[in-house]
């Protein structure tokens, strides 16, 4: 019974993980601009790789392998958002073109490429508790 369940769980995790990675790859080819492509890679791609590593943990069913697999999954889940944020921020500042149907861009006009500063949009408002002479 346990053997059978382990086999079934490994197979399901493998198939779902592989399918998610395939979806991520299709998304990276089909989606129109960079930020949308990052949706595909950082969500579907990360989850696909994590599920495949989880399948390894279930397949071997040993403490050492499970610990390493958990470490890999934790590492992937921790680093993928950081890397995506870094790439998204850098490419927006580098002036990547957004899809023509983009309805909302909250950062439009807020970034000064010459001084490399990003305005928060709250510069005009005075904070009564703020004692510093030039609050930014």
């Amino acid at each position: 019974m346990t053997e059978w369940l382990q086999l079934l769980l490994t197979t399901v995790l493998l198939i779902v993980g592989g399918g998610l990675m395939l979806i991520a790859a299709v998304g990276v080819v089909r989606l129109p601009d960079l930020l949308m492509r990052m949706h595909a890679t950082t969500k579907a791609g990360t989850l696909g790789a994590a599920l495949t590593v989880a399948a390894v943990a279930v397949h071997f069913a040993e403490a050492a392998v499970t610990a390493r697999a958990a470490a890999i999954i934790l590492f992937i889940v921790l680093t993928a958002p950081v890397a995506a944020h870094a790439i998204g921020r850098a490419s927006y500042f580098a002036g990547v073109t957004l899809w023509r149907g983009t309805a909302r861009d909250d950062l439009r006009g807020k970034y000064d490429a010459d001084s490399h500063t990003l305005a928060s949009g709250l510069e005009g408002e005075q904070d009564p508790d703020d004692q510093t002479p030039s609050a930014r």
Binding site: G18, T46, V56
Partner: protein
């Protein structure tokens, strides 16, 4: 059952690698290529994990750890390069 699943997932990862490489070659600009490269790193982690199951050798998980580390470092390095320097119209 598990052999069939391993082969199917290998085929899926191969197709996904081909699609990601298509985006890597096509561009249009450096940030898109970096995103494709990041996806390729994830796909290689998955392929290594599947090969660990196929070959029944658990040590391949260490390869997956190192690949994940390298991919993260490469992405952060490219992000710094895009943000701080390099030509604006690559």
């Amino acid at each position: 059952m598990i052999e069939l699943a391993v082969d199917v997932v290998f085929a899926m990862i191969c197709v996904a690698l081909g699609l990601a490489f298509y985006r890597l070659a096509l561009g249009p600009r450096l940030p898109s290529r970096v995103v494709a490269l990041e996806l390729i790193t994830s796909l290689i982690i998955g392929a290594v994990a599947v090969y660990a199951i196929k070959s029944d050798i658990e040590e391949f998980l260490d390869v997956a750890i190192v690949t994940g580390l390298l991919g993260f470092m490469a992405t952060v390095g490219f992000a710094r390069y895009i943000e701080k320097g390099g030509p604006r119209d690559d």
